[in-house]
């Protein structure tokens, strides 16, 4: 290759040829995926609402809340907006306005809902992260190693055959409720879906000529997986991740509501609703406020996911 020399004659020739060629005349313009994502209305809507929720979760102590586990028998079953009093652990009695009323123990629902945002977001994001991490590894293995593929995918089929909520209940019952066990219990039934998605992406992408080119360039298999295949699965995986996050938040609330999630004194939306269930007829706000938060959060996550799918889906991307 050292013998390469410039050939001015042919170079100039090619330049003027290019001037006539249609191909040279058409400027290749393509918006990057990131630009399209930022322009999308639903991505913005979902993202802004989620940012707001993150802010609420982080700023919970400064938003006029009290310790969510505090209760005061004197302020039981207050209607939203009522003034009451609440006793701190130090025995100090404070005047407090119960913006969303109080429950049958005299706990401030507003504080519990605001602090519940922390739990929900942590659970949603952690579930998505765990399910994606495990699913990506298993999917890459299944897509690349013929021998692993059959047994692994049959196992995944088996997991998928059992309703997700049932597995989660069984796992939490086995392990006892804590944040970690709840996250794992919700993440495990999601793993097969991610594995299947990654596997199918790997199977299509590994037939792409650029992967075959890498094979003929002597690139080792693990490098092909990490450099050529994984980066090209990112877009559909991000979309899948948001949907898992949404359903994770929902499943956590369901588990708490059923009493098999986090301990009842932990402020989660599901726990608040579970406690309010008995008094729903007289005090519907006990369920209404956490319910609204839950619904809006899941809606925001799903809108974000839809927006990402529309902008990142290769079928929607125009090929110039």
């Amino acid at each position: 290759m050292e013998s390469v020399v410039r050939h001015p004659a042919t170079l100039a020739d090619a330049a003027s040829f290019d001037a006539l060629s249609v191909e040279a005349a058409s400027v290749v313009t393509q918006e990057s995926a990131w630009t399209r994502v930022r322009k999308s209305l639903s991505v913005r809507l979902g993202a802004y609402f989620l940012l707001l929720l993150v802010a609420i979760a982080l700023l919970a102590p400064w938003l006029g809340t009290v310790d969510p586990s505090l209760f005061d028998p004197a302020s039981r079953d207050l209607l939203p907006g009522r003034q009451g009093e609440i006793t701190t652990l130090e025995g100090e009695t404070l005047k407090h306005r119960f913006l969303m009323g109080s429950d049958s123990f005299g706990r401030d629902i507003y504080s519990r809902v605001i602090y519940g945002t922390q739990v929900s977001l942590i659970v949603g994001i952690a579930v998505a992260a765990v399910a994606m991490a495990v699913g990506i590894v298993l999917g890459l293995l299944a897509g690349f190693l013929r021998r692993v593929d059959g047994p692994l995918m049959r196992l995944m089929d088996g997991v998928m055959a059992i309703p997700a909520i049932l597995i989660a209940i069984a796992l939490v019952a086995m392990w006892r409720g804590s944040l970690l066990t709840v996250v794992l219990a919700i993440a495990i039934p999601e793993i097969p879906r991610v594995t299947r998605l990654v596997r199918s992406l790997v199977l299509t992408i590994r037939e792409e000529p650029y992967v075959e080119a890498a094979v003929s360039l002597g690139t080792p298999t693990w490098k092909i997986m990490l450099r050529h295949i994984l980066p090209n699965t990112v877009a559909p995986l991000v979309v899948q991740g948001t949907f898992i996050c949404g359903s994770g938040i929902l499943t956590e609330a369901i588990l708490s509501f059923l009493g098999v999630g986090l301990p009842p004194d932990t402020p989660t939306w599901g726990n608040v609703m579970a406690e309010g269930r008995a008094q729903f007829n007289e005090y519907p706000h006990n369920i209404f406020f956490p319910g609204i938060f839950l619904a809006l959060t899941v809606l925001a996550v799903n809108i974000l996911g839809d927006g990402l799918r529309d902008t990142l889906d290769p079928k929607m991307a125009k090929r110039v």
């Binding site: 290759m1 390469v4 042919t10 001037a19 249609v22 393509q30 075959e212 360039l217 450099r227």
Partner: protein
């Protein structure tokens, strides 16, 4: 098929067409493009007409707007492409302002269209007969028996064997050529005055293409329809056209009779295009018959077994007893139609797939047999054989920049990044790309540029054998000429051996020293290119050569064919629309 009550033909449909004028008259047609496109109009101020019994060929490279014109005539333009001005008259009747209902009534009755891809143009869940029958149902009041007779008659007319069986078949049961005949039958069943054929043979093999072109010519003469024939292939133009219109970036640059345009082109762009059409004449090429072997393939076989739990095993013999040899500095061409096994052979040689039998000997003298070598032992040998693929859009990883793509191979074999980048720069120069390309991503390049980058990536490994698997097939003719010249230059400058796989005999005749013709997994003819082209021995080879479109037609530009590209290279300014 049961048929709903036919749409009563409106009074408009009975309106007598103007018998004297042209069948199709397009005047000053301008069609917009959505904002953010690379130009403001898809088609700008295009005027032409198609007379009774005339075939007008609309030629242009991809993106020239030729298909958009066809869609605008049929009233099938998507909303994003609005007609901004001009008129389209079918037998005197204005189409740009016609109502959707009127257009629906005109389609199939007065104008009809043949599409490129016969599989997607047919509904897979309806029998072919029902699909032709549907046209009659919509537009006529014939009874079931009359319709069936008419369907059988037209199927017979497009020369499909066993019309009764064909009519009862589903599209997937027919071959590509048969499907296209069904599409033609649907288009012609109501005797339209205008037939639009949009690249009708591009998806077909060359022998099938020849049959379909002949059929269209026959039927056109018998029915006296005007034909607007859209193609990018100048061979097809030479076979079909009476008049030719050349489009470039949405403007009509030249319009004239076939002989004027193809043999005495006036516009620089037309000259450049015609100069770029590879001729079927062999080039005299110096080659050293005593040069050492780079590759010898002995009795290569590839069998695919379709294992399933239930049912019988399906066995496909993709390649059988293939013997090939390439010496240093030589180019071996493998030609054949789709499914002939030519790509299978290439992929076995690069060891992207494992051969089922035979040997692939790499290097001089005894050589190393890489056919059955385990991947660990194969790795150091891989760099000696490199491949360039057909689809430039899928050959580069979209998420890695060009520098990373180019240095990947050498770095795998232990070269330092800096040294690899150095080599990448000199190779970009060789493939006539600017060094600034290194920082950019594949989507910022056109197809031809990407193909040059792929060639550079292959050359980064300093291979002994370069395999080009249909590497110029997806490119427009002018770009194709450039890339072919680049291959030629690289071969002679680096004294490489090349394996050039193509379905296009014109391309093969330009680059090959040796030629192997493959059919159904076997090499049916093999020898020096001048011998195979000059005196083909095998029946299949003769049929293949006879089917090459535009065979025997002498394309011409000022200064001769070979000088075509250079002739217009002097004047790089492009004149505005002429003709």
């Amino acid at each position: 098929m049961t048929c709903a009550a036919p749409i009563t033909p409106s009074r408009d449909a009975e309106r007598a067409p103007d018998p004297a004028g042209p069948i199709l008259e397009v005047r000053g047609l301008t069609i917009g493009l959505p904002a953010g496109s690379d130009r403001s109009t898809a088609v700008r101020d295009v005027s032409f007409e198609v007379g009774r019994g005339e075939i007008l060929c609309l030629v242009g490279e991809s993106g020239s707007g030729k298909s958009v014109i066809a869609q605008s005539v049929m009233g099938l333009l998507p909303r994003t492409l609005p007609v901004l001005g001009g008129s389209i008259r079918l037998q005197g009747e204005e189409l740009t302002t016609a109502s959707p209902a009127r257009l629906r009534a005109l389609r199939a009755t007065r104008m009809s269209m043949i599409f490129q891809e016969p599989m997607t143009a047919l509904n897979p869940v309806m029998t072919c007969g029902d699909q032709i029958d549907e046209v009659l149902c919509e537009h006529t009041r014939l009874g079931a028996a009359e319709r069936r007779a008419k369907v059988l008659a037209i199927v017979r007319e497009v020369r499909l064997p066993e019309p009764e069986r064909m009519v009862a078949s589903y599209p997937h049961q027919l071959s590509g050529g048969q499907r296209q005949r069904i599409v033609i039958a649907m288009a012609l069943v109501l005797d339209p005055a205008l037939l639009i054929a949009d690249e009708p043979t591009t998806a077909l093999d060359v022998t099938t293409q020849a049959q379909i072109l002949k059929l269209v010519l026959d039927l056109q003469q018998r029915h006296g329809a005007g034909v607007l024939f859209i193609t990018h292939d100048f061979g097809v133009v030479a076979d079909m056209a009476q008049r030719v219109a050349v489009l470039r970036l949405g403007t009509l640059v030249e319009l004239g009779t076939k002989h004027d345009v193809l043999q005495r082109p006036r516009h620089d762009y037309t000259r450049m295009l015609i100069g770029a059409v590879p001729t079927l004449e062999l080039k005299a090429r110096p080659s050293d018959p005593e040069a050492p072997f780079v590759l010898r393939v002995r009795g290569l076989e590839k069998t695919y077994r379709d294992k399933s739990w239930f049912g019988r095993q399906r066995i496909v013999q993709a390649a059988t007893d293939v013997n090939l040899e390439i010496r240093r500095g030589q180019t071996l061409g493998i030609v054949g139609e789709s499914g002939s096994g030519k790509s299978t052979v290439a992929r076995c040689i690069v060891r992207l797939i494992d051969p089922s039998g035979g040997s692939v000997l790499l290097g001089a003298d005894s050589g190393r047999d890489i056919a059955t070598m385990p991947s660990g032992a194969l790795r150091p040998l891989r760099k000696r054989v490199q491949i360039v693929f057909q689809d430039p859009y899928r050959s580069l990883n979209p998420r890695r920049n060009i520098a990373e793509a180019l240095i990947e191979g050498p770095v795998n074999y232990g070269l330092s990044r800096d040294a690899a980048l150095q080599r990448a720069r000199s190779l970009l120069d060789m493939v006539r790309m600017d060094a600034s390309a290194l920082e950019r991503y594949p989507h910022q390049f056109s197809g031809g540029q990407r193909q040059r980058l792929c060639i550079a990536r292959a050359l980064m490994m300093e291979p002994e054998l370069l395999v080009a698997d249909e590497a110029v097939s997806a490119l427009d003719v002018s770009v194709q000429a450039q890339v072919m010249r680049l291959f030629e230059e690289i071969r002679s400058r680096l004294n490489l051996a090349m394996l050039f796989i193509t379905h296009d005999l014109r391309v093969a005749s330009q680059v090959c020293d040796q030629l192997a013709v493959m059919s159904r997994g076997r090499v049916v003819e093999y020898g020096p290119a001048h011998r195979v082209f000059g005196a083909p021995e095998h029946e299949y080879t003769r049929a293949l050569f006879a089917a090459a479109p535009g065979r025997g037609f002498q394309f011409g530009v000022a200064g001769g064919v070979a000088g075509g590209v250079e002739a217009c290279a002097g004047s790089s300014d492009v004149a505005p629309a002429a003709g």
